[in-house]
Amino acid sequence: VKRRLVAMLGAGFGAAIGGATLCRGVLAADDPAPLKPGAGEDVTSAQCSACHSSDYIVMNSSFLTPDGWKAEVTKMRTAFGAPIDDSTAAEIVSYLASNYAAAAKPSAPAPSRNESVRQ
């Protein structure tokens, strides 16, 4: 089957790469969603956007509990090495919990059940 595919695809690869135009720029300007205004928005934006756009925060709302957000901020500090001190982290968690968390449900467990971390 593989051999047949090659035959079907035909044209030589050398030609393909030689003729390619490789003038690829950076991604098109494409503004991420702004974070909601509120206490802690400035520090959250400044710290988190160093490595990723605010899309990540909005995308994961609003199903994480306040404890879920705390776990995410902890992961960024411990697993990803974000240089965020305790008091700044507390501000960020408070902002996320106020603006992007699910209403507290007694039945909703914290997501960290074992060593696995989602990517």
Partner: protein, 401 residues
């Protein structure tokens, strides 16, 4: 009805003639509310109408109509980066690949021209993110909230990894092969994205260093100029912008192997366990699970009561699809779909089902695939902290008029 399958009559292969299907414009309703706020279809360099989930690092899914084809066009192939330090094409101008490690005889550095001079292999293979369909998990699991478009299939071409490794000479004590790419973290303290394979999978003839994708150079956002292709295994091992290979006598110990991309031990049985990375409680996620997808019609489409065609793709870890069943009544009854000829162990298998006269109304279409080994898609989500391997059959609601 919509004009689809305009490939009829074309003299060229099915593989290189994309069918014309209606573009999906819907943001799936099952996604979290926040994801639905930010997700939108955008154009990128070399990419057309992709569902933007995150711009930095770039994470873009293909719309479901793309999977009316067995081969995913390069400009519709999904994009997934963990770290925002994405190289530019100019950064890759002096690209080379080092092959070293404690289990090689002599470290070597290869240029693109060296790879071009080596015998090549071609594999038509599905590359699927471990977290494909995470956004449909109920309850939701944090991470990139993928739709079912965090996957694609391409004809990958390049030297076999084992031939690349032999240029450096593999010692008998080799246990794993480690991989690094040119994409980098923003912060120095962030673990660089490095992954490993067990030596057996690395030496498999279908594991290749791809320098061509669908007979063209790889798009930058898919790993130009060379990426690892690991057929049957989830995308996390398919290292993009591959720059360094180390053959090692010990397991790779880092965040990306030991913490991320792991599943509870025993939850997803595999043919070839990754023993050197297993612990008593968790194992690395490796082999794909059996899955299928209806690509046509699309959610919300109006279809003809006198009969319409349901088509889609099914795939698995490489054992082969034996059967795809389709339900038009939300899973109460099932019919066997027709299967197109298999195009290789690791490719999509296309299925179609032609419906008969139906009463007008709303219908739930569902597909479910079974492998040659008898594995069928899960009826309920096997909950796991990463939200991986979501292969629960997914209904597509259509209106028969």
């Amino acid at each position: 009805m919509r004009r689809r399958d305009m490939i009829a009559g074309a003299g060229t292969s099915l593989l290189v003639s994309p069918s014309i299907a209606a573009e999906s414009t819907r943001i799936p309703a099952e996604l979290p509310d926040g994801t639905r706020q930010i997700a939108r279809f955008v154009n990128l360099p070399d990419k057309r109408r992709m569902l933007r989930l995150v711009d930095r690092p770039p994470n873009y899914a293909a719309p479901v109509n793309v999977f009316t084809d067995i081969v995913t066009p390069n400009d519709r192939f999904y994009v997934r980066y963990h770290l925002a330090g994405v190289p530019s094409a100019a950064d890759m101008d002096d690209w080379s690949l080092s092959v070293a490690g404690d289990a090689v005889e002599r470290p070597v550095r290869l240029k693109l021209s060296d790879l071009l001079d080596m015998p090549s292999n071609e594999v038509l293979a599905v590359c699927q993110c471990a977290g494909n369909r995470r956004g449909f998990c109920d309850p939701h699991v944090p991470g990139v909230q993928w739709t079912d478009g965090a996957m694609g299939s391409a004809v990958w071409r390049g030297p076999m990894l084992r031939d690349v490794l032999r240029r450096a000479g593999v010692k008998p004590e080799a246990m794993e092969v480690w991989f690094d790419g040119a994409d980098k973290p923003v912060m120095q303290a962030t673990p660089p994205y490095r992954k490993s394979l067990p030596i057996d999978k690395a030496l498999d003839g279908d594991t290749i260093v791809a320098i061509a994708m669908n007979n063209a150079p790889l798009p930058l956002l898919n790993g130009y100029p060379a990426r690892l292709v690991v057929p049957g295994w989830v995308g996390t091992y398919w290292m993009k912008h591959l720059t360094a290979i180390e053959v090692s006598s010990v397991p790779l110990r880092n965040y990306w192997m030991q913490t991320a991309y792991r599943v509870p031990a025993g939850l997803f049985p595999v043919q070839h366990p990754f023993q050197s990375q297993a612990t008593e409680t968790t194992v690395p996620i490796t082999e794909l699970v059996v899955n299928s997808l209806i690509a046509d019609p699309l959610e919300g489409d109006e279809v003809d009561r006198s009969g319409f065609t349901i088509s889609g793709v099914a795939w698995d870890r490489g054992g082969g699809i034996n059967r795809v069943e389709v339900s038009i009544d939300g899973g109460h009854s099932w019919q066997d779909a027709l299967l197109d000829r298999p195009l290789g162990r690791y490719s999509y298998r296309r299925f179609i089902l032609q419906t008969n006269l139906m009463r007008p109304g709303t219908y739930q279409l569902i597909s479910r695939a079974t492998t040659n080994a008898g594995e069928r898609q899960a009826e309920r989500l096997k909950l796991n902290p990463g939200g991986y391997h979501n292969n629960v059959p997914r209904p597509v609601a259509v209106v028969v008029t």
